[in-house]
Structures are given as C-alpha cells and as structure tokens.
Symmetry: C2
Subunit: 288 residues, 2 copies
C-alpha cells in the first residue's frame, strides 16, 4: 500500500463507508466505491470519503484497482463475485468485512480468477446503526481486526491485511482460521445477540421499563439490530450458533435444577465460577 494505491470499496454501507473514510484520513487519495444507491455515493463524495463512486459501468475502475474491499452481506458478496469476479485484474488483492467465514472464504477464493488473491478479514467494530451516513460513528481504535487466511493465501496477502488494519488504526490484529473465527463469533457475538433478542421478546416486557436498572439496559442494548444483516449472519453460522445455544441452554437448565431442588451450595459454586471467569476476561483486557 502506498499513496498512489487505488482502492475500490464494493458496497458502501456502514463499514464500507468507515473504511473509505479511514483510508482517506490515513492519506490514501484514490478510494473509489461501487454501490447500488446513488445517494450513498453522493453522500460519501460530498464528505470526502471517496474520490469517485459508481452504480454501474465500473469495468475501468476495477481494471485499475490495486486493492478491493468487499463490504457486502455474504450472499450478495458471492453473487457479486460470480457475476463480476472475472473483471478483477491479476495481481490485485481483495479482502472483506464479513462477520462469518466458513463456507464463504473458500467459495470466494475458488470463484476468483487466477492471480487475484482474496485474504478474508473481519473488523469487529459493527454498530447497531447501518448506512454510510453513520460511518463516522464507527470506531476502529478500540477494536479487534481478525485475519482468517486459508492455505491459498500468501505472505503478500497477509501483509496487505495487516497493513490495512494498521492504516485504519485497529487496536489489535489476530490471525485465526475461518473455523476458529466462526466458533468464537458464535459464542462471543451471535449467542449474546440471540440472548438479548430472546430477553426482549418477552410478552409485555415494556411494562417493566419503569424498573430496569443498568444491568438490564446493558444486557439488552444489543437487542436493537439490523434485522436482515443479523438474519444473514446467523444463518451462515447456523451450525456453530446452534451448538452455542445448546451449550448455554444446558447451563441455564442446570442452574434452574439447582434452584428448584434448593441446592444452595451448587448455585453458589456456579456463581463463583462465573465471577472467576469474568475476572479472567478483565485481567486479559488490562494486560492486552
């Protein structure tokens, strides 16, 4: 990556917009974007996030591209690569922002023409909001950037992903396999969203709104979500997420059994285990 590098962002939503904005701020002048929405492109151009935007007729833009960032939902991403992948020039490097990897990365890598490398990555910096108009709210500074290479990836691809994360200012960069990634995301992100949704879908929950404390508000903040995107992510990761839901449910049922049988000592033991595990998280955070 250098000042003359040409970036094309495919899909100018929340994260595509935040990448464009971040790259321009980091001094990369040539950032173009493709999107179906004329308004999204106009907004980004006016804000100085992109040099140029197109809704179609983008062959020449792609032909000149050094780096391509796919910021599309997984299903649309694959469709795009099937339709336009052959337009990508040999030697260009691609990455994405997708929240799921297994089944997606392999497929995209298989579809791309010879000489075009796709190194998958996932910026853990999503928001409840969507759209390029909210791109300025995305904060990479405290966030993790995950790179999920396969055996098809090269050193050059990995270096690009790292350099991109550094240019955008991510706090930490991790390299893990697509499978580890999806298992971790299933627990850390998707299970927690499934829980918040299940909490908030309680019939008549609103009647308790007068009484909620901080803990309830913290726990349910993520129950606001972009429904089509999360449905897509959940469905892509359904095997791992199902496993996590099953594991969680079993632990909650164990707690319920202790409760019903009045097994105070086992309940306390469970509380001590959870307190210790949570403390380990905070400890790692302080060290990290």
């Amino acid at each position: 990556m250098n000042r003359e590098s040409r970036f094309v962002i495919v899909g100018l939503g929340l994260l595509g917009g935040a990448y464009a904005r971040g790259l321009r701020r980091a001094g990369y002048a040539h950032v173009a974007a493709l999107d179906l929405k004329e308004e999204a492109l106009a907004f980004a151009k006016e804000k100085g996030y992109i040099e140029e935007g197109r809704t179609g007729e983008f062959q020449d833009l792609l032909a000149r591209a050094d780096y391509i960032i796919f910021s599309l939902y997984p299903t649309t991403f694959i469709q795009w690569v099937e339709q336009y992948g052959s337009l990508l020039p040999a030697g260009c490097l691609c990455t994405d922002v997708s929240g799921v990897k297994t089944g997606l990365v392999d497929k995209v890598q298989a579809l791309l023409p010879q000489g075009v490398e796709f190194i998958a990555s996932h910026p853990m910096a999503g928001k409840e909001r969507s759209g390029v108009e909210n791109a300025h709210l995305v904060d990479f500074a405290p966030a993790n950037f995950l790179i999920t290479p396969t055996e098809r990836n090269t050193r050059r691809g990995l270096d690009f992903a790292r350099e991109l994360a550094e240019a955008l200012g991510f706090a930490r960069i991790h390299v893990i396999s697509p499978e580890e990634h999806d298992r971790m995301i299933g627990y850390v992100s998707q299970l927690t969203h499934a829980i918040a949704v299940s909490l908030m879908c309680a019939p008549g929950a609103e009647r308790f709104a007068d009484y909620t404390g901080d803990s309830f508000r913290d726990l349910t903040r993520i129950a606001y979500l972009n429904a089509p995107m999360w449905a897509e992510l959940f469905l892509w990761n359904r095997e791992y997420l199902t496993e996590e839901i099953d594991g969680f449910t079993a632990r909650l049922q164990r707690l319920k059994t202790f409760l019903q049988e009045g097994r105070r000592e086992e309940l306390e033991e469970m509380f001590r285990t959870s307190s210790a595990a949570r403390a380990a998280f905070d400890k790692k955070e302080k060290e990290g």
Copy 2:
C-alpha cells in the same frame, strides 16, 4: 422524620452502610448500627456514617429507636425478628432493603409485636461489591426505590418509606405489591443474572477473552456477583424465576428452530420485535 429522629440500621453491609451515610449527609444526626463485625462498625464510625455501633447489648438502642432499617439477607432477617423483634418499641417504624418480598414481608409483619409497623421497600441500587467499605460507591441518584405495602400497612408507614427515599435522593419511587415486585425482579434482575452466569460458565470461555467486544463485556459484567447473597435471593424467588427461565428458554429455542429450518423471515421478525421492544424501553427512560 425530623432532625431528632433516632435511626437504627440492623446489618451494616453495602446497603446498610449506604443508608447510614446517606442519612447523615441528609442531616440526620442519630444513626446507630448493629452488626456482628466490629470492624464494620469501627469503619462506619470513623467515616462518620454512624453515631454509634454495637455488636450486642443493644436493647437500649432499640428501645429508643424511631426508625429501624433492616439490611440483612432475608433468612437472617427473619431469624433476627424471631429472636429480637419483641425488643422493638411500640410506635416505631421499620423497613428493609431486601430484593425479594413474597413470603418475607407477611412473615416479618406477623412476627413483629403489636404497634410496630414494617413497611417493606427495595432500593434498586446494588453493586457487584459488598461490605460497608464500598458503601460510598452506591449511587441512589439514578435509582428506583420500590415500596411494597400489604394490607397491614398504614398511611403513616407509607409516608415514612417515601420520606426515607426522598432523604436518600432516589430518582423515582414506585408503590407495587410484593407479588408484582417479585415477578418484575425475576425478569429484570434475576433472569439477567442467571443468563450472565450461564454465559460465563461456558467451558474454556477464557480463550475468547482476546476477542470480546463491548456487547459481550456489557452482557457479562453482572456475572461478577456476591455468591451467597444471590443464591439466597434466587432461592427465595424460585417460583417466579423458574417461570422466567422457562419463558426465556422457550423464546431462545424458537429462535434456534427458525435458524435450523432456515426460516429467515421469522428470524427477521423476531429481531424487529426485539428492536421495537428495546426502543420502547429507551423511550420510557427519556420520558421518565
């Protein structure tokens, strides 16, 4: 309540300490405390939270008391009233800080001597920490104060509970029945703690600590808990909490079914429902 009123706080832990501190700051000079721990009393005296503290031989303190605040775990509270209730002077008014009410309030009211009124209340201002040394961390200003009268309570009792909440600076005062209270707490507080504990008890959860984002940290902050206290509260409220766990589990299983059967539209509908319900909470909060 007036400047000459004599308060006795029974149990000088986190909330007992915060009440003592708050009363003294509100200008009530005569705040005494009973506790088994000499150090707790010495600490509170040194900090100016109390005028006097006793570990035993407290008949005279009780005999002079106008207002008594019980800040004990429910089981200990009942034991104390069984043992010492007869020492309370006719005309004195009592309240508590217990997080559960059904089965407790009736029992305490039945045990107290004629002429001693117990009006139950619950300050929703707990912390993960415990002990009088942490009393200064308790913040009543944003918190709810719940008063749960029964048919045995009088206008005078209710007025005392309100006046106490106002003196301590609570944001909002609500009057609800003990049963409504316990059902609400079962959902808003206990279910959320049960969920956070079940999340954090995942085997090997620590290995994901590098990857957690804000949502996971928010969701699990309450997984730190005072194990004996929460075991006690859970067991006291086991019927309502069991119902809430069952309702929540059924909703999570519905989500899992949609996921496994690839029912995207129903998943999105669930996400839209949860987003709307959460928005209603925030709306109420802004109005409140």
